[in-house]
Each structure stands twice: as structure tokens, then as C-alpha cells.
Symmetry: C2
Subunit: 329 residues, 2 copies
């Protein structure tokens, strides 16, 4: 265990002032070329690494940003994180990922920790029912909200505009002859829960399909809820098709169908939400609502690094992806 290598230790080693070392290492012009080279060589030999904390203390901004997600297993979030990580890498930002599990306490703590390390900004999927970043009294961090809009918060927000896609999903199912179409989505604590349900109903009306209140399910947007409601729907057999209103719910519903041995593209038609790669491979291709994840991620980074982004809402349009499904047989 050798001592930590600092500019002072290098200076001592070379018998010069630590300031000369500092200047030499940061490429300051007024340093004798030979001095500079001597310093740089010695630094390399000794394995000097700049102490980021020291710079932070001097008021310099960190190159750290945060990302708060419910989880990172769902391919939607995984792809978002992947794109964002690459975008950060490109800007030499370091990305700290906190998983909230959609739990308010975890969210609060994650924000606190990011504040402590003086993170430059944070992109977050707000936990349902939380006040979001409002809990950050002194907000040195710039906050970008993703997917969901939380409370009265005045942070820029990136939303998915899925109204047309959801209505299209209903129209698509109606065209295929379905008249008993179920829906599983987030409940009204989430702005997206409200709007998606509204879009679904609008779709029913536009398609001339009667609304069946007993086939409308809302709850917390988790895979478990998705699976549970789907089992219910399959169990009582009243519905012949189903539309999902969220990426977690979609995966949950799908897994419940597969577990029950029911094809999601068979006579019972499922329309998923989000477009993980494997949806294309399930039973001849699952029809789903595609979300432009990569574009969301780039916009998120762009907003986060912006000096002081106005608290605007940025919408990205989702699109219905119709797939053939099982060949009729």
C-alpha cells in the first residue's frame, strides 16, 4: 500500500512547487517544456490520478448525473438506460443508477444521495403518488421527469403521446371482429394512467364498440398486477381481446397468458405496450404500441445538461405496430 500520489507528493519528489506540477499537468502554457515533460513522466510512473473531490470542493461541478428507474430488467427501461449511458459516456458524464421499485422512500433517498454527491442532474421516472423532485428544497440539480408527470413539479417532462396509438389499437381489434375488449392500465394516481384509460375509451367509442366497465382494470403499474388481472380476464372468459396500458403491465399480462398456455396472437388478441425485441417473435409476432425509447433518452440527456431548461412538456408519439400473429389455421 503506497501513499496516495498527489501533486504535492510529485512536487516533493521532483523538488519543485506543487503549483508547477499542477500547471504542468493541466497543460498551462507558462511552464518550461522540460519541466512539464519531467512532471508528466513522473506522474505517469507514479500512477497519479486527479482527485475529483478536490475539484468539486472548489465549486467545480461534478460530471455525475443520476437515473432513477423502477427497475432495469424491463427491456423498455433497459434500453433507455443503455442509450442514456452511451450518451453520457459521450459527454464524459458518469451515470449513477438508482432503482426505486416505484417506492417513495427509495426515491427520496436516491435523490438525497445524488444531492450529496453534487450530481449535476437527474432523470427520473417519478414514483406513483410522490411529489417528485419537490422534496428537493435547494435544487442545484436539474431534474428531468420521464414518462410520468408528478405533482405540481415544475421540471421539464418527457411524455409519450400514445393517444392515437391506443385508439388505433382498439380500432385494430374492432376490425378483427372483437366486441369485448378488456384494458389493464395504471390507476388515476398517474397522469399517464388517466390519459391512457381515456384514450382507450375514446377508441372504443370511435370504433363503435360498447364499453364494458367490468373489463376495465387499473392498479399499480407492475408486472404482478398485469399478470393478476390477465388471469382474471382469462378466467371469467368475458373478453376476447385486451389492450395493455404500460410496459410493466404488458410484460406481466403476457407472462400470465403464456403460463396459461393461451396464445396472445391466437383467437384471444393481446395488444402489448412497448416493444422489446422478443415481442416480434411471440406466436408469429405480437401487435404492440411502440415507444421511441432511444429518442426519449437522447432528449432526456439533452434537457439535463441544458443550462436551465424551461419546465416544458416534451411529447414523443407512440405508434401501433401491427404484426401478423399466428397464421390463421
Amino acid at each position: 500500500m503506497s501513499e496516495r500520489v498527489t501533486i504535492k507528493s510529485i512536487a516533493r519528489d521532483l523538488g519543485i512547487s506543487h503549483m508547477t506540477v499542477s500547471r504542468a499537468l493541466s497543460g498551462h502554457p507558462s511552464v518550461l517544456k522540460e519541466t512539464r515533460e519531467a512532471v508528466q513522466n513522473r506522474a505517469r510512473e507514479l500512477g497519479y490520478v486527479k482527485h475529483a473531490a478536490a475539484n468539486v470542493m472548489r465549486g467545480q461541478t461534478t460530471r455525475i448525473v443520476g437515473l432513477l428507474l423502477p427497475n432495469i430488467v424491463n427491456e423498455f427501461y433497459a434500453r433507455f438506460a443503455n442509450t442514456m449511458a452511451l450518451a453520457c459516456e459521450a459527454q464524459s458524464l458518469q451515470l449513477i443508477i438508482h432503482l426505486t421499485g416505484d417506492e417513495a422512500g427509495a426515491e427520496r433517498q436516491a435523490l438525497a444521495r445524488l444531492n450529496e454527491v453534487q450530481a449535476q442532474g437527474v432523470v427520473m421516472v417519478p414514483v406513483p403518488g410522490s411529489d417528485g423532485a419537490m422534496t428537493l428544497k435547494p435544487r442545484p440539480m436539474s431534474v428531468v421527469q420521464l414518462i410520468r408527470q408528478s405533482g405540481a413539479d415544475a421540471a421539464p417532462t418527457i411524455l409519450v403521446d400514445d393517444d392515437q396509438a391506443l385508439q388505433g389499437a382498439v380500432a385494430h381489434l374492432a376490425e378483427k371482429g372483437h366486441r369485448a375488449i378488456a384494458y389493464i392500465g395504471a390507476d388515476s394516481r398517474l397522469s399517464s394512467g388517466q390519459s391512457r384509460l381515456a384514450s382507450f375509451r375514446a377508441g372504443l367509442e370511435r370504433a363503435g364498440v360498447a364499453e364494458r366497465p367490468e373489463l376495465l382494470f387499473t392498479g399499480t403499474p407492475t408486472a404482478e398486477i398485469g399478470a393478476q388481472r390477465m388471469r382474471q380476464v382469462l378466467g371469467d372468459g368475458a373478453a376476447t381481446a385486451l389492450v395493455c396500458g404500460g410496459v410493466e403491465i404488458s410484460n406481466g399480462a403476457l407472462s400470465a397468458m403464456m403460463a396459461a398456455g393461451v396464445s396472445p396472437t391466437g383467437p384471444f388478441d393481446l395488444v402489448g405496450y412497448g416493444d422489446p425485441s422478443f415481442y416480434a417473435w411471440i406466436g408469429g409476432g405480437l401487435t404492440t404500441i411502440g415507444v421511441p425509447v432511444e429518442r426519449l433518452a437522447h432528449k432526456a440527456v439533452e434537457l439535463m445538461v441544458a443550462a436551465s431548461p424551461p419546465p416544458r412538456i416534451h411529447r414523443f408519439e407512440a405508434a401501433l405496430i401491427v404484426r401478423p400473429g399466428s397464421p390463421p389455421g
Copy 2:
């Protein structure tokens, strides 16, 4: 934009010494209860957040750890990251994720950045052909290598013991009558590339199936290579089954099959590597080599936070997961 709230500003505000504030906030016993409460209240009102960098400067260790992955879209890595993030959260560690894209430059830079922020440790999937953490001359970080063993590095390493599973995969295919079994895996730059190929060949020999050198493919362990080789295999039609030797290759090979409209569970049998949830749903269930991701992740965190873990190799056994596939018909 108000001034930054520090213990000194609170002290000024209350007309006391900043040390008293420090003690009050950190729960030091010898502070008058009323003083402490006054300080804590004021701190809360003002929105004080501790400055992590200041503590780091004083030699305190950061609560930051790093994770280096090729990507985070592959469900294997995503699940690893998810589990590790939760484990870190539980130990109030912050997790910085760097994606290397299996590129040496990115790896080097990521390690450098983690060093700069004084990360406590790092879990990394070494880039093929790199010297791994050897480039870290002064290693204040504890390093844990994952999945692959890199160079002559003396860091603890977590490996998957897939010998039996791979041999089992070949035996399984042989039992189904296959005599022309192809293999796609990583090349010999990777220790795992070598050992998996060896296991595959041992499996052939044990099953009494002749080895066909022209059906053995190795390359960089990416989805692209997997897809490309798979197209080749399907194109020339010499093989009737294929075993994958890596999670990326497996996904790539699968996507190429699906794109070609060939069922991976049909007459041509694919054995995958890794067990993302959807493998169970593809064509009646894809037979694959299951890896205990969650256990790997927990071990990784355990080793990383350990004082000075011996550079041991920790092996976790993979298991062949046989699935029915399409019903014969």
C-alpha cells in the same frame, strides 16, 4: 438561487460555532439537547445537504462503486445490474454504470473515471483481450472480475461453470437424433471461449457424435457475430442443430433464426445460452443453458465490499434447462 447551505452558514445563522453544528448534525453526544434540536430544525428548514466531497477529501471512503458491462440491454446483464443495484441500495452504496461495448478504450476510461471519484470498488466484465484492471497501477479500488478472466490479473473472479451444461446440451441434441451439431462461441482470446469450445467438443465425443470442424464458429462474443454465423449455418444447411456459447451470441443467433422464419424448436434445434424470461415463450419453449445470475450478483457485491478478498476464482454452476419446444406435428 440561494447560497449553498453549509454548516458554517447555519452556524452564522444561529450565532454559534460551525463545530457545534457539525456535532449536532452527526449526533455527537456532548451537545445540549436544545442546541441540537435548534440546529437540526434550522438545517431542515434551510435544506442542508451534507457535502460528500468534503468527507472524501478527509480520507473518508466514498460509498460509490462501479459496474462495467458490455451493454445493459441483454437480459443477462440487465438482471445482473438489477440485482446488484438492489444489493448496493441495501448497503447504501451508489452504483455507477459504465458501458464498455467490449471496447478496450472505453474500459480504460471508465476505470480511470472511477478512480478519480475514489470509487470503493468495481465489478467488471473484462473486455476481450484487455489486460483488465492491471492498468490500474495504484489500486485503491477493489476489483471483481465477472464472467471472464482477464490477463494475469490477481483480482477475485466470478466464473460460470458451464462444462456439464454444455456437454448436457450436446447429449440432449444427440438423443433427439442430431448428428450434425454446430457451435457458435467466443474465440480463444477469452478464457471462457476456450473452455466452452472444449466442453462442446467433449460433449460431442462423449455422445459419440463426430466433430465437424466446419460447423465450429468462434468470434467476438456479440449478437452481430451470433446472427451472422447463424445465417451462415442456416444457409449452407449442413447442420441440423446448434449450441450457443454465450449470452450475446445466443440472442443474435435466435434473432437471425426468427428473421429467417426458422423455428428454433422445430426440426432445427437451437440450444441457447442464458435464460431471459422470453426464452420460455419462444416456439413452445427454448432449451437453454441457465445461469444463476442473481447469485453471481450477490457474490460480486459481497466480494467487492470485503476488506481484501483473496484473488480466488468463484464458480457457479450453469444448468441445462430442457423445454418441450413445439409439439411434434
